[in-house]
């Protein structure tokens, strides 16, 4: 509704301006008109557009170009001191893409990346929602609890991940010391493929809950208290109130945080890389850590292959965002 009103006002304003222009007997081109009307806006936006173009557009374009070549560390041109080496890489078309998509490694990594994302996002969301609901009521020491729950967010990511790595150490880690005291034999946290997967998910959930909690708490506080009062008067139980007031009231916030969290988790490089380096073996390697491995660990560095993986990751995320948006639009959400 609001959109409509806005449009009609703009149209009215435009017509008014055109009317005035007509009196002078000139009719400037569309571009010039847009520039003369909005020159101030264009000037304000220009630096951002240029910066974005340089730091995002150029690397992106270069990445797409590299993914169509056979560039690697040996054949790109470089000059090091007196040594000058000419660029000898060449255009290979879509070969890298067919190679990547027919490689079973890509499918394996994709499957685990999806499992990892779904597990992390769903657990983080449910925990965040539970904590937010608890913190949304009045009780003693609420501020202190909020502070404590937000703490993981205040610690730099790599510090927390290293701390967890010490906790998880099988022979000397605190977790196994505690379990040992309780009579449970050592759990191979990072040494067994399944446990390692559980461990990385646990750490990522731990890191992600504060964000979810804060966002959802904000959403909860924007739901008018009268709704709950009225529902209570009508005899609705706690579950019914949650189901019919809290959940719909949170939909706008939750749909956004789930989308964001999905994209972040899908590309969550530090947790995997610093905690397990993709190990044991390659069992916790996700798409981005594998792309990093190709570009920076293996030798000679495979720039083309890594760029291909990067473009594929971007494509997967874009498809996800489109589908997600469409399904939300069907439910009547607009964003």
């Amino acid at each position: 509704m609001t959109v409509h009103t806005g449009q009609s006002t703009a149209k009215a304003a435009g017509e008014g301006a055109r009317g005035r222009v007509r009196t002078t007997g000139e009719r400037p081109g569309r571009l010039r008109r847009a520039l003369s009307t909005h020159w101030y806006a264009w000037t304000m936006v220009a630096p951002v557009v240029i910066v974005l173009g340089v730091i995002i557009g150029w690397p992106l374009g270069r990445g797409v170009y590299l993914s169509l070549t056979d560039a690697n560390e040996r054949n790109v041109g470089r000059t090091i001191g007196a040594n000058h080496i000419d660029a000898t890489y060449k255009f290979v078309g879509l070969r890298n893409y067919t190679d990547a998509l027919t490689d079973p490694v890509f499918t394996q990594r994709l499957v685990w990346t999806v499992v990892w994302t779904v597990c992390c996002v769903s657990v983080t969301f449910l925990l965040g929602l539970a904590l937010a609901t608890i913190l949304n009521r009045e009780f003693r020491g609420r501020a202190a609890y909020r502070m404590m729950l937000i703490l993981p967010w205040a610690v730099p990511g790599f510090v927390s991940v290293f701390a967890w790595r010490f906790l998880f150490n099988r022979d000397n880690g605190l977790l196994n010391k505690v379990l040992d005291g309780g009579g449970i034999s050592a759990v191979p946290w990072l040494d067994d493929p399944t446990w390692a997967k559980v461990s990385v998910i646990a750490v990522n959930v731990w890191l992600g809950v504060p964000f979810m909690m804060v966002a959802l708490l904000g959403g909860l506080q924007s739901i008018p208290g009268e709704l709950y009062e009225a529902a209570e008067m009508d005899g609705a139980g706690p579950w019914q109130r949650f189901r019919h007031i809290t959940v719909p009231g949170l939909r706008a916030v939750s749909s956004t945080v789930i989308l964001l969290s999905t994209i972040w988790t899908f590309n969550m490089f530090p947790v995997i890389f610093l905690l397990t380096r993709g190990g044991p073996g390659d069992s916790t390697e996700i798409l981005v850590t594998q792309a990093f491995r190709q570009a920076f660990v293996d030798s000679p560095r495979d720039f083309a292959g890594s760029a291909t993986w990067g473009v594929l990751i971007l494509a997967v995320l874009m498809i996800f965002a489109l589908v997600y948006r469409r399904s939300l639009r069907k439910q009547g959400e607009v964003w």
Binding site: R165, L190, G279, V297, D298, P300
Partner: protein, 424 residues
Amino acid sequence: MRRGIAATALVATLALAATACGGSDSSDNGDQKSSGELSGTVTWWDTSNDTEKATFQKIAQDFHALHPKVTVKYVNVPYGDAQNKIKNAFSSGSDAPDVIRSDVGWVADFASLGYLDKVPDAKAEEVDSAFLKQAAASGRYDGQMYAVPQVIDTLGLFYNKKMLKDAGVEPPKSLDELKTAAAAVKSKTGRTGMYLRGDDSFWFLPFIYGEGGNLVDAKDKKVTVDGPAGVKAFKAARDLVTSGAAITNATDGWNNMETAFKSGKVAMMVNGPWSVADVYAGDAFKDKSNLGVAVVPAGSAGQGAPQGGHDLAVYAGSKNLAASHAFVDYLTSQNVQVQTTKALSLLPTRTAAYDQPDVKSNEMVQFFKPAVDKAVERAWIPENGALFEPLKLQFTKAVTGASSPEDAAKASGTAFRKILKGWK
């Protein structure tokens, strides 16, 4: 853009060369050893471990006393990340180190990419005549010398003398004896026999040499890791873990191994001279004589450990080539080598250093020198470092039981052939 940078760099190099020449001309006062002619900053990326780094930092500072106009910037880069970090720095050129301590397995890789400056002819001649032959070989690529060997090493079987004595066994000579010894340690002391490092492919090499195999045959351009010897090697490593003779980890292997051994939780480990200083710091080795070292256990067809070590190389894009080469010269001088042997039990690369009393009397040198002489020299190909990545993956999978020895060997072979294009 690129050309712009290159041009600036060229101008800068020329300017520096000009000033350097001017410097040497003006200081032409007959005193050739005068330190006045060298100046500038030399950044050294050292990969020595936590126990060793203080010694090397001090040595680096001593160079400044020798050449007051040269400032040495000492940076310790953890060995595990070093190859990657060095490549990043070399390829971008910004904040690149002037001198690096490179694992012998990386030299060919860096050199083939054009990152390293050739060792000056005079120095190369000296290395050829005064250094250990197999150490000198590691610094060469394509007939040229790109790096000067700093230390040489190999793996040996470290054992806790007291624990083996309590268990009533001799230091094992073969994998079978190792299993018997481990069982005795377990029953007599309740401790585990051995720590097997499962997260680093260097520790796989004694197994494959023990079965009479090798990773590759560089002469015939053949991948041999997936041959019968390779399969047996993966089997033997796995067997140590399943039989209970050894414990292993898929992550943090280095720290866990050191902690377990030096605190007396395990009786044996396979390790190199670079770990000696750290072991001595442990509770179980307050009495240094408790540490014994033997040759790595033999497999079914042989006995051997890989030749390892570290070389020093100069970045081709360094702005202070003269000072950098002089610094490498100094680091590989006899005095410094003797100093590191005394402090850290590291093995010198100069033949004459072994005649020095401090080196001669060092117990670790007494053991490791003959071991190094017999160590298996690796193929010095640029892909050396690259091969270790997929091998590490398969080694970890094999020792933890995530894949069978046959599959691990086969997968390693496939990965090797992907890296070594055109090899059989």
